[in-house]
């Protein structure tokens, strides 16, 4: 009896510790975005007077200031949206197709190609960047979205996720049945396989979109003119410009503008996203 009582008290104490640590960590995760939000609502004069935790009334003013700032931020947002959305569509569609090729067909090179794709999964884009840039120079594709979009067709990590998901949902008897009904292979893939893969496609579409939305390394090497640049490149430019000349309210608004869309989408889809991390077990 005594032991049990101690145990109960121990659990209660551990629970309190767990909650305290969790709340502290949540605070550490969120405080930056809170300060960012507050500062985006304040004017340059207010900001230079120091920090207060209460929002001010300059949100709309700062937003308008950002629209008319020297950097084409709205254009950058549109560019980011185009690159990220098309990459997400191409990446998920063709990764599913690649996974289906390995999953459904037994051809001679199958095992070799499967092993090959898994083997190259870990190669970072940075180590091939040099050859990539030289190739894009030769092909005349600098300052173009093509080098940012087309390569996402070949995404080994997304392929791996799709393959694992396919192993659990797609039975080949279904494909056989469709064949007997006279459906062509391409039609089977589009009409039967793709709808079955919807949950996995949704998760990977989000991850690919976010990865491309946030990507800085390759776009900064490829995009040269102001009106082609994506948000991360413009933000880095903001950092390199003479900082003191800027209206800080507009600077905070620009940062907020590139961060908050992702946060809003995340809050809507958090269940699928957090669930999706474990499903593939692939850290990108």
């Amino acid at each position: 009896m005594k032991i049990k009582k101690e145990n109960g008290a121990g659990i209660r104490a551990r629970r309190v510790v767990a909650y305290v640590v969790l709340i502290l960590l949540s605070f550490l995760c969120l405080i930056w975005f809170y300060i960012l939000f507050i500062n985006a609502t304040r004017s340059h004069a207010e900001l230079s007077r120091g920090f207060t935790p209460i929002p001010s009334t300059y949100f709309i003013k700062n937003f308008q200031g950002m629209q008319h700032s020297t950097q084409p931020i709205m254009r950058g947002m549109l560019n980011s949206l185009i690159v990220a959305a098309t990459s997400a569509v191409l990446c998920t569609y063709f990764s599913t197709m690649t996974a289906y090729a390995i999953h459904a067909y037994r051809f001679r090179m199958r095992k070799f190609l499967y092993t090959f794709i898994l083997a190259v999964m870990m190669i970072p884009t940075q180590v091939t960047a040099l050859g990539f840039i030289r190739l894009m120079l030769k092909m005349g594709l600098m300052d173009n979205f093509i080098p940012l979009i087309i390569p996402s067709i070949a995404a080994p990590a997304t392929f791996f996720y799709m393959k694992q998901y396919m192993d659990s949902v797609l039975s080949l008897s279904l494909v056989e049945a469709a064949r007997i009904d006279g459906a062509g292979e391409f039609r089977i893939f589009n009409v039967i396989v793709l709808p079955l893969m919807k949950p996995a496609i949704a998760v990977q579409a989000i991850f690919t979109f976010v990865a491309n939305w946030n990507n800085y390394f390759t776009p900064s090497l490829i995009l040269k003119t102001e009106k082609m640049k994506t948000l991360p490149v413009l933000l880095a430019e903001l950092r390199s410009a003479d900082f003191l000349k800027f209206d800080m309210g507009i600077v905070y608004m620009t940062i907020a503008f590139s961060i908050f869309p992702v946060i809003i989408v995340y809050l809507i889809l958090s269940k699928q996203i957090v669930g999706g991390v474990t499903l593939g077990g692939v850290k990108e």
């Binding site: 930056w32 920090f51 190669i123 040099l130 008897s173 976010v210 946030n214 948000l231 991360p232």
Partner: protein, 331 residues
């Protein structure tokens, strides 16, 4: 599920037998070989988009990078030097110069500052979330919050930290209001503060992701082991160190190596935070930031040699991951 799917097929077979037609199975038996081969040809067709894209945008650039690492090819002022074939001279130069080791050291130090607290906190949170006797409430809320920073644009996050920790920024303002300091602290003039800030940001961005991965591993452990240990009177600490941790080793190795590979690619955060200079005194300059410099100055020889070295290190680390996770390619 599987059985339920079989039933209509059996009914169909019955129908075929009664009507005297060949069943689909028999039909395929007759021309199985040709049909199967004919179908399996589609495996190649469906692989074309991946392979073509991969060869053009990854393999050719990789080969070109390796090829370039054997040439002297850079600009000195307005003069273009090379390309001249110089064998392994770029490698000899890069390995004998102090820069590579300095930047590799910087990268490792900042990675460790982020990774050590990350793995400790993630193990702790994972153990708490999966402990049935603890019954933590609002788990989904906490998981959502701790994963959030992982999705934030690293360059925007770095830009945010630069403004927040600048000399006249909110953090100095708060610290001064609380009378912790009387003068603004110049975070970006101090080697330790700059490195800790980079490590701290990486910690904030990645611990949620690691927690979720470790949790999945912990939930995969047979629950009866925990129950048996509890019956035997083991404390939570003993259970964690004697059962959870040893059984978690494969996943821990996976997390460690993938994080190390990610650490080698460290770029966005220190690049934007220090405006690409790696200041103070190049103490936050990472290897990829250095590579980026070579790419901008079109020093393809040295850039190539650096890329190949990074490629080799990543390759070795990847093989370790492969061995540990034992990915099955037979299925």
């Amino acid at each position: 599920m599987q059985q339920a799917k079989c039933l209509p097929a059996q009914a169909d077979r019955h129908f075929f037998r009664e009507t005297g037609m060949l069943t689909p199975e028999e039909n395929t038996m007759n021309n199985k070989k040709s049909k199967v081969v004919q179908y399996n040809r589609w495996g190649y067709i469906f692989l074309i988009p991946f392979l073509v894209t991969y060869v053009i945008f990854q393999l050719v650039p990789l080969a070109d990078t390796i090829w370039n690492s054997f040439f002297e090819n850079y600009r000195s002022g307005l003069k273009q030097i090379g390309p001249n074939f110089i064998g392994l001279a770029n490698y000899a130069k890069i390995l004998s110069q102090g820069d590579l080791w300095k930047y590799a050291g910087n990268t490792m130090i900042m990675w460790l500052i982020g990774f050590v607290p990350q793995i400790v906190v993630s193990l702790l949170l994972g153990a708490w979330f999966t402990d049935p006797s603890l019954r933590l409430k609002a788990q989904r809320f906490f998981k959502t919050v701790i994963y959030l920073p992982n999705l934030i644009m690293a360059s925007a996050f770095a830009m945010l930290f630069f403004t927040l920790f600048s000399d006249g920024g909110p953090v100095n303002s708060i610290l001064m209001n609380l009378h912790i300091i009387s003068q603004p602290y110049r975070f970006f003039a101090s080697v330790a503060a700059s490195r800790i800030l980079v490590g701290f940001m990486l910690f904030i961005m990645w611990f949620g992701n690691t927690t979720i991965l470790l949790m999945a591993g912990m939930m995969g452990i047979d629950q009866s082991l925990f129950e048996a240990a509890e019956v035997d009177g083991a404390t939570a600490r003993q259970i964690f160190f004697k059962i959870t941790l040893p059984l978690l080793r494969p996943i821990l190795v996976y997390v460690l190596i993938t994080s190390l590979i990610g650490g080698l690619q460290m770029f966005d955060v220190p690049q934007v935070l220090t405006n690409g200079t790696g200041d103070p005194a190049r103490s936050t300059m990472t290897m990829i930031m250095w590579l980026n410099k070579h790419l901008y100055s079109k020093n393809f020889g040295m850039g190539g040699a650096l890329s190949v070295l990074l490629f080799i290190i990543t390759g070795i680390l990847s093989i370790v991951v492969f061995k540990f996770t034992g990915t099955d390619t037979d299925k």
